[in-house]
């Protein structure tokens, strides 16, 4: 069976259903999907919109590495990752990660690992635009080169 893994940077709205469906192999019965979206309020402050920027070729390489590592560490069939870039309005989807696996447990574990690692390693940055200013958000975690 050819792999149905995919990893993409998107500049138009992401449809969760279509991401979740693209990872489905005929012998699996369940998909776990994490979707992140633009919060209206962060620590009580209202966000007007967000802007995501990426170091695009490196972001795609890092996403591909995460997918490779997930296949080593978890018994899963297919993975789909789509991250939105550019300006996003409140409520829009910023990231979708879908994992299909023969057994649910591995799909949950892999999806949780993938979002944690994506937030730590994939070179994408978020700028929050508030009524009274804007701010580049800095991640909390370091990355150790391999």
């Amino acid at each position: 069976m050819p792999s149905k893994d995919f990893f993409e940077l998107a500049t138009s709205p992401i449809d969760i259903t279509s991401v979740a469906r693209r990872v489905v192999p005929p012998e699996c019965g369940a998909t776990v999907t994490l979707d992140g979206y633009v919060r209206q309020f962060t620590r009580g402050r209202e966000t007007l919109h967000l802007f995501y920027e990426a170091y695009e070729p490196m972001a795609l390489r890092e996403m591909q590495k995460l997918i490779g590592q997930a296949h080593k560490d978890f018994d899963i069939s297919n993975i789909g990752i789509v991250h939105r870039l550019g300006r996003l309005e409140v409520g829009e989807t910023s990231v979708v990660i879908s994992v299909a696996a023969p057994h649910r447990k591995a799909a949950f574990a892999a999806c949780e690992w993938l979002i944690r690692e994506l937030k730590r390693t994939v070179p994408i940055w978020k700028k929050e635009i508030y009524a009274d200013g804007e701010e580049w958000i800095e991640g909390e975690k370091d990355v150790t080169p391999i």
Binding site: A54, S94, R120, P123, W125, W136, P145
Partner: protein
């Protein structure tokens, strides 16, 4: 000659998205960053991550002619 790229916060603080650098032999990203922080002290309080040719590297990695060097703040996608 190597190319240095800046993204997000670093691009805003430096006021540029890329620059070409002529480096001495055995130069490292740490040397370049030292010069950058001297020129743009606003960078000093931030943790800056380093990539060479689209891979994370340690600051003391030796740079080679033609490398693509990148400096950026800790990532915040998701």
């Amino acid at each position: 000659m190597i190319k240095a790229l800046f993204f997000g916060l670093t691009a805003d603080l430096i006021g540029s998205r890329s620059t070409d650098l002529d480096l001495k032999d055995h130069a490292t990203p740490a040397n370049v960053l030292e010069h950058l922080v001297a020129a743009y002290p606003e960078l000093a309080p931030h943790r800056i991550l380093i990539a060479v040719n689209e891979e994370y590297v340690y600051a003391d990695t030796v740079l080679h002619d033609g490398d693509e060097l990148a400096f950026f703040s800790a990532v915040s996608g998701g």
